[in-house]
């Protein structure tokens, strides 16, 4: 009985951590992006390189983190892929000529810097990070 209780508490804890991580990111965009919100489907298609504009006609260019908790949470929440599966997917497009490899950077600060200076850039950072000069997009 003690073991069962312990396992339950562990599972609840892991679930809580996962839930916190999924909510602990924010999507930011360059000011040239007209929309203040984006659908999850739009966001997925931009980051899976099947479209390079949003429904409002704004040019959209994804930027990704190379790794870390925010990156893992974004992939899990919005793309449904692991990092290795995503990289394989990108390479299959690049090596058949269907897309260019998207920009990847090493930190939240680099994401913000790229988003601020690049027309149409959309990226994600941990929600605690500040993003001066970039707008936050609500994901519906």
């Amino acid at each position: 009985m003690k073991n069962l209780t312990f396992l339950f508490v562990m599972a609840a804890g892991l679930f809580a951590i996962a839930t916190v991580q999924a909510a602990d990111i924010k999507v930011i965009a360059n000011d040239s992006v007209k929309a203040s919100s984006v659908s999850a489907d739009e966001l997925k298609r931009v980051f899976l390189l099947t479209r390079n504009s949003l429904d409002d006609g704004s040019h959209a260019e994804p930027v990704l983190l190379k790794g870390g908790a925010a990156h893992e949470a974004f992939l899990r929440e919005f793309l449904g892929k692991t990092d290795s599966a995503l990289q394989t997917y990108y390479r299959s497009l690049v090596f058949t000529g269907k897309a260019s490899m998207p920009k990847t950077v090493g930190s939240d600060a680099e994401v913000v810097s790229f988003v601020v200076k690049t027309k149409g850039a959309i990226g994600y950072i941990s929600s605690a990070a500040i993003a001066p000069g970039a707008k936050t997009l609500e994901v519906k």
């Binding site: 479209r51 394989t88 390479r91 299959s92 090596f95 260019s100």
Partner: protein, 411 residues
């Protein structure tokens, strides 16, 4: 046998030694701008080692261990505008007596997207057919060192890999029902001179020496991106109007006078391929399954004979990512070919393969795979399925255990 084992350890030791070097980030050298447009260069190379028991495979001397499994490619591309991109890739390979490091244009085309649901491509385009037809020559992308050979034969991939012509393509959202992605294609497809079909006819002792084989092909692919995240199901269809021209040695060709060569031609009466497939990726787990039917119904020997193949093949594959560096995969594949010809009615051959593979990602850009195959079946003179009599003068036996070690690097 001892030399084969020694070569295996030598390759693995070499990979381990080089993997100790610090990883290099080459992106600063591979992305640049021209006239304000971003241009990217990417490339890959792979080296494999095959070691088999009983039979030599893929025209290489694999029973002694063979390193004749090399390929490389480099591409350049640019997104000129939001809707228009161009690019090209050069590729070369050497597998046994095939390829011979002869560089070929793998693809070179322009693509224009009018909208998400309609775009066009024109040039030499990799053919979208099933899950892996367009990437079958880039196995560094796969869990496996070799894709299921019953559906993606290395020695016959020229027949389906790419076409010179055009595509229409697009994705149609279905709201709660996911989305549909379609591709329609048409164009010419020609076997390379060192490609498998031309080689297999020569190596079979038929006396046929084709200088040209291929022709028009047209078809389509429709895949449903199911609302369940990570699942895709689809179907592809292709008709091929292939023909071949060359010569045939009089002695080997019964329909010519003895001595000297005679002109040879063959042409398709009814060639088509169908493929049904499904893929499901969930977290660390991946599952793929495909079924392909290939019908080749040709007039051969310059009109004197007819020959029809009906090949049905399938595989089921699973892979699980154990950790950041390791992935384990396995597949079972089976191909059955019925051949009917004017003088050899209803000849049936098969190829079965049970495979286990361990993939190790040394870095994000470099992997090595160790893969075991347990094959049953050796094809026939007219459909060798990788088992060529020319490199198996001792005859062929049904069982072929095969070890493949393959390392791939890309940037």
């Amino acid at each position: 046998m001892h030399s084969g084992i020694a070569k295996t350890f030598l390759l693995l030791a070499g990979v381990c030694a080089v993997s100790a070097l610090p990883a290099q980030d080459l992106s600063q050298y591979t992305t640049f701008t021209v006239d304000g447009k971003t241009v990217q260069i990417h490339g890959f190379a792979s080296q494999g080692f095959m070691y088999s028991g009983n039979n030599n495979y893929l025209s290489a001397n694999t029973t002694d261990g063979s390193f004749q499994m090399t390929d490389a490619g480099v591409n350049i591309s640019s997104q000129i505008t939001d809707k228009f991109r161009v690019g090209a890739q050069v590729y070369m390979f050497d597998v046994g007596k095939l390829g011979d490091y002869h560089p070929e244009i793998d693809w070179a085309y322009g693509s224009y997207k009018f909208s998400d649901w309609f775009g066009i491509r024109a040039g030499k385009v990799k053919t979208t057919f099933g899950l892996f037809t367009d990437t079958q020559d880039m196995t560094f992308l796969s869990t496996f060192a070799m894709l299921p050979q019953a559906i993606y034969p290395i020695d016959r991939r020229d027949e389906s890999l790419a076409h010179t012509g055009g595509d229409i393509f697009g994705t149609i959202p279905l709201k709660q029902a996911g989305s549909l992605s379609y591709t329609g294609f048409a164009g010419d497809s020609w076997d390379t001179h060192n490609g498998g079909f031309i080689y297999s006819l020569l190596a079979s002792g038929s006396g046929i020496n084709l200088t040209k084989f291929g022709g028009l092909e047209a078809g389509g692919d429709l895949r449903w991106n199911v609302p369940l995240n990570g699942m895709v199901v689809g179907a592809s269809y292709m008709r091929q109007y292939f023909s071949g021209n060359g010569t045939c040695e009089g002695g080997a060709c019964p329909f010519f006078n003895a001595g000297g060569n005679g002109p040879y031609w063959e042409s398709a009466r009814n060639d088509y391929n169908t493929q049904f497939y499904g893929e499901y990726v969930h977290g660390r787990f991946r599952f793929d399954a495909e079924h392909r039917r290939t019908v080749r119904d040709h007039t051969i020997f310059s009109g004197a004979n007819m020959n029809a193949f009906d090949i049905r093949a399938f595989y089921v594959a699973g892979a699980y990512r154990l950790s950041k560096h390791f992935e384990l995969g396995s597949y079972y594949s089976r191909g059955i070919a019925h051949m009917d010809s004017s003088d050899i009615p209803d000849n049936v051959t098969h190829i079965l393969d049970k495979v286990v593979c361990l993939r190790y990602d040394i870095t994000t850009a470099w992997n090595v795979k160790v893969e075991g195959h347990f094959m049953n079946g050796v094809g026939s003179k007219f459909l060798p399925w990788g088992f060529y009599p020319s490199v198996n003068p001792q005859g062929l036996v049904d069982q072929t255990p095969l070890l493949v070690v393959r390392t791939g690097w890309y940037f």
